[in-house]
Subunit: 345 residues, 2 copies
């Protein structure tokens, strides 16, 4: 019989935070990483859960991200907040900059946070949910590694470049989406490869630029953007805005700088916050009530709103705790015992 | 032998402007509409060219848009410029607000223009190209009519909701995209229907929510978003930001208010402008130069950048003029002679 253990979110956060603190992370950094990682488990997103500890530790061990730096305010000019992650993780930098972003969005109607020189490993819904929790709409985007060919191209150039959005819903979970602008995440292609199964059509091309459903050929070649030329254009926009415009690495530069996709990528991040109260000023209707009509109509068709499954899992977890299986317990025990020696480069 | 005539852009703008002035449009409004419509011909986008005169006139005749109103500044608070289109066309309202949007983007780093109570019939690349011409990045979006089912849904709710982006390229045409967030424009489905040809897979569903390639069934049913759940999420975001948030009509509300898709829709528009100089402040690299590396790499793969075909057509037109065929000449002559009597409701 396999061992199982049910733990509270808080208890698991404390355990994960300890792992990072023990290998030299600042307390705030460790807590922030633990919060993000445990939120993945809480929402039943295994791919963003405890599994991520290993990648974080590996990137730290490789010297590509610093766990012992405090983010700092680089500048606060007009409606732009710039946070210097100082070669640390993006998550503590975002948490550090959020109060000022919110303040500026309320003051100016909209505002931007730029995170510079960070390493990014987590989903972007953390950012847009956090912004929505302040009653603001949020947009977040960042480059990744060059693993995706532009539409009509033949070699990796774009990243999987996630785009996330959040809209606050009164007394409800926010409307939140967060997706890769590639057809699939690289990890999904790896799963097909391990299972020896062909990919769905349109996911990738081989190293000669020819369409293929062979996952191994795609891993050697390129993934493709979602939505053909439209997704490709959006992904390119993310390279321009959250790479070139903010003076941080684009996806081909990030891959060149690191030389591998097995460590978390180093780049920047762009986050926008918009205040519906300011945007609706002078109009009679309440923007949040009108949004509910739209969202209720979507749900009324039986269409699932993005993140609904995640919020349902969260509700369950908050009531019942997080159930850890044998492998997860072994993984925690290994990193608790061995720290950075538990990962190989 | 069919009659043909080659005219300059300026001469054609003057003719089209005259048509609108004669039926009561203010001079500035007429010039603005003519500029936008002739720009469609200039760029060889027939669907946004002279063909649009009829829709504009029909919407005016139906009393759904006012050609004789001047846009006015509603408010200028923080980084948000609000322009009241006063039930007129969006184009003069955008032209009116643009200088202040640019000024605010330069001052705050980013800014937004909200156009309220407008009728919209044109492509959004006009907006993002105009912003890029000032050295700024631009994003524009608006709802439409409820003709698209959300992913997983079964009835029209979202509009074809266009999304446009522009990035300035030194001494080059800007990087510009502008597309419907539906798989296709409604006009394309109508063309398949007239030709009696089946649609490509995934373009639409019938009135019972079942996937179909029958264009007539899709016209009675719903179009589908591009990129499955991802495009659907982006389209929903446009309803929230450029509908509910700004206090203007969402796509189902716009359809309900007008009761038909044969007239141009009435709603609002949201435009963002970002200043790369402000966003890259404190970094060593020039954002425009770094963007060129990315865009050149895309083009270097033989992939076409969005709008390239349009810019090539424009170059040709600027050198050779606009060639009008028999039908176009007849259309101009009809509206010059008959004005609003040339269209039936």
């Amino acid at each position: 019989m396999s061992q199982k253990e049910t733990v509270t979110i808080e208890a698991l956060e404390a355990r994960v935070s300890q792992i990072f603190e023990k290998i030299g992370a600042l307390r705030d950094v460790a807590d922030c990483l633990a919060h993000v990682i445990v939120a993945g488990e809480r929402d039943h997103c295994a791919a963003h859960g405890l599994y991520r500890i290993e990648g974080c530790l590996r990137t730290i061990k490789a010297g590509q991200v610093k766990p012992d730096v405090e983010p700092a305010l680089m500048s606060s000019d007009g409606a732009i907040v710039k946070v210097d992650a100082k070669m640390g993780f993006s998550n503590p930098a975002f948490a550090f900059g959020l109060p000022l972003l919110v303040e500026k969005a309320r003051e100016f109607g909209l505002a931007a946070m730029v995170i510079q020189d960070c390493t990014h490993f987590s989903a972007l819904w953390h950012e847009t949910e956090a912004i929505a929790a302040h009653g603001l709409a949020g947009l977040a985007m960042c480059p990744s590694y060059a693993t995706v060919a532009p539409f009509g191209g033949n070699a990796p150039l774009l990243g999987t470049n996630p785009l996330a959005f959040g809209w606050p819903r009164p007394n409800k979970d926010p409307y939140v989406f967060d997706f890769a602008t590639s057809m699939a995440a690289r990890g999904e292609i790896e799963l097909y490869n391990r299972a020896g199964k062909p990919l769905p059509q349109g996911w990738g091309i081989d190293k000669d630029g020819k369409e293929t459903t062979d996952p191994a050929a795609v891993l050697e070649g390129s993934m493709l953007p979602f939505g053909t030329h439209k997704g490709s254009a959006i992904s390119t926009m993310i390279e321009l805005l959250a790479g070139a415009m903010i003076g941080d690495l684009t996806s081909p530069e990030a891959l060149e700088a690191l030389g591998t996709t097995t460590l978390a990528p180093h780049h920047g991040e762009l986050i926008l916050a918009l205040d519906p109260i300011k945007f609706s000023a002078g109009r009679t209707d309440n923007p949040f009530e009108r949004a509910e009509m739209m969202l209720d109509a979507i749900a009324g068709q039986g269409a699932r709103l993005p993140s609904q499954r995640r919020f349902a899992a969260r509700k369950q977890t908050l009531a019942e705790g997080i159930s850890l299986d044998e492998n997860q317990l072994a993984l925690l025990a290994k990193f608790e015992e061995k720290g950075l020696d538990g990962v190989s480069l």
